[in-house]
């Protein structure tokens, strides 16, 4: 099983969610986050003064999937989150030891 963490542009969340549910991803967790990568934030101008905004708003998705499904999920994430502009984000893939559905006690792929 894999635990996929993706940091994406907030406005790409809906297309990503739709594409993921089309390929059978049955659940994901979304968090509004702030951060920076190579883009290093941006500047805003108020009353003629430039302010550096170091942390830009992004959306973090966390998705637990079976190992077989993971490649397809990464591909969909990569395609749907991409705008081609700086700041599109990153995908991290972690091995996942176990999963359990709290209500029923099911474990492994059954719990995803």
């Amino acid at each position: 099983m894999k635990y996929i963490v993706a940091i994406i542009q907030p406005h790409r969340l809906d297309p990503v969610r739709e594409a993921l549910s089309e390929i059978g991803v049955s659940g994901l967790t979304v968090t509004e986050v702030k951060g920076y990568g190579r883009q290093k934030g941006h500047t805003e101008i108020y009353r003629g003064a430039e302010y550096a905004v170091h942390y830009l708003p992004k959306v973090k998705l966390e998705i637990a999937v079976s190992t077989e499904q993971s490649e397809r999920v990464i591909e969909v994430l990569s395609n749907e989150a991409r705008t081609g502009n700086i700041g599109d984000g990153k995908i991290f893939v972690l091995p996942m030891e176990s999963a359990q559905r709290i209500r029923t006690g099911e474990t492994g792929n059954e719990a995803l």
Partner: protein, 402 residues
């Protein structure tokens, strides 16, 4: 006593209080970082309450009762001798209404200075500075200009407070900002405004309230009031457009904060002229106010490096002074009140004397007030408290709970 006049000034009184609570509070509140929003609202609220009580106690009598050319007497302290039916001399208004209308000016003027010291000042220092300032700067200057004092005798033209409100507050704000010192990190790492939408809501309430401020200063329901309202609106609209166009050309994007800063610049600039000029005078003052105040913001903050944090001097002080100095040149345009027997040059020299003397008095008196305050309670919160934000460190509250 005249019912129509009284009704309009009662209405204006409410409008001018609306300028401070919540107009100015929101205008300033949106410009600071999110950890300081409540402290700004607190400053405006506390100053409103404190100034009201002081106005009743001695402020009003020092400003508006008979005395010397420099200061009114103490005969109307706590409104002694003013009954329900007392009419204020020279008007058709109950003195209770005239008192209350003027009280809302005494509220907003020290509250304007909040913009100079946000995000770093001790709350106790805010109270002491505001209280002393009301009695030492605002009340005497009001007496000089509107209470029959030495500037009134010379015929200075200040319809609604270009000198009395905006020059006093603007000059003193800069003095406080210099003595208090800049916010930590100024100018490089200061945080941007946390809620530009709130700045717009505040500016809009100020705009509406300003109808009471300027048109109410006619002290009657008459043609002066009507024209004052009209020119006030035109100046605000013009200055807003001018400011946003300058920013659009210079930075590539027309910003909301820029546009509403222009609104306030236009309103401050028309204030001293509002009862004297016609529609084109209003447009001209809006144009001049938009351009000059824009330049002034850059000058004070970015070149002189004074952390007058929310640009009280550049927007209010400069706008008020500019309007006051331009009045004599514009009253002759259609719809204007004219100068009567006086020449433009001699009226201009009186206007210059008014602005200059009030500027000097405001700065000297404020320096002394701030020195006293520093000795009694200190001025700044600790560096840690500043970093944490005044909402939590000074007031034990938080503006946003997410």
């Amino acid at each position: 006593m005249n019912a129509a006049d009284t009704a309009w000034i009662l209405t204006s009184t409410a409008l001018v209080l609306l300028m401070t609570l919540p107009g100015l509070a929101l205008f300033y509140g949106g410009l600071v970082r999110s950890q300081n929003i409540l402290s700004v609202l607190m400053h405006c609220m506390a100053i409103a309450c404190l100034a009201s009580i002081l106005w009743l106690a001695v402020g009003y009598t020092l400003a508006f009762s008979e005395g010397s050319a420099w200061l009114g007497g103490l005969q109307k302290a706590f409104l002694a001798g003013v009954g329900r039916d007392t009419v204020f001399e020279g008007t058709t208004l109950p003195e209770s209404v005239f008192f209350s209308f003027q009280m809302t000016f005494a509220v907003i003027t020290p509250a304007l200075m909040v913009g100079a010291f946000v995000e770093r000042i001790k709350f106790s220092a805010v109270l002491i500075i505001s209280a002393l300032w009301l009695l030492v700067v605002y009340a005497p200057v009001t007496h000089w200009v509107w209470g029959g004092g030495w500037l009134a005798e010379r015929g200075v033209m200040d319809f609604a407070g270009g000198i009395v409100v905006h020059v006093t507050a603007g000059a003193s704000a800069a003095a406080i900002a210099v003595m208090l010192g800049a916010r930590s990190g100024f100018p490089k790492t200061v945080q941007p405004p946390h809620a530009p939408w709130m700045v717009m809501v505040g500016a809009s309430l100020l705009w509406v309230g300003w109808f009471g401020f300027n048109a109410g200063s006619a002290l009657g329901a008459n043609g002066d009031a009507g024209m004052a309202l009209l020119v006030t609106h035109m100046s605000a609209a013009t200055a807003s457009l001018v400011w946003v166009v300058i920013e659009w050309i210079k930075f590539g994007k027309p910003s909301l904060v820029g546009m509403v800063t222009g609104t306030i610049a236009g309103l401050a600039t028309i204030t001293p002229a509002s009862g004297f000029v016609g529609p084109m005078g209003g447009v001209f003052l809006g144009f001049a106010g938009g351009v000059i105040c824009y330049v002034a913001v850059d000058l004070v903050k970015h070149r002189m490096k004074i952390d007058d944090s929310l640009d009280v001097l550049a927007v209010h002080g400069v706008g008020g002074a500019l309007g006051t100095l331009l009045v004599p040149f514009l009253v002759g345009l259609p719809g204007g009140a004219g100068l009567g027997e006086t020449s433009v040059a001699s009226q201009f020299s009186v206007q210059l004397l008014g602005v200059g003397s009030v500027l000097v008095w405001s700065i000297i008196a404020t320096i002394i007030i701030v020195m006293i305050t520093k000795a009694v309670v200190g001025l700044r919160v600790s560096d840690e408290a500043e970093l944490e934000g005044l909402d939590s460190s000074s007031h034990g509250e938080s503006g946003y709970r997410l």
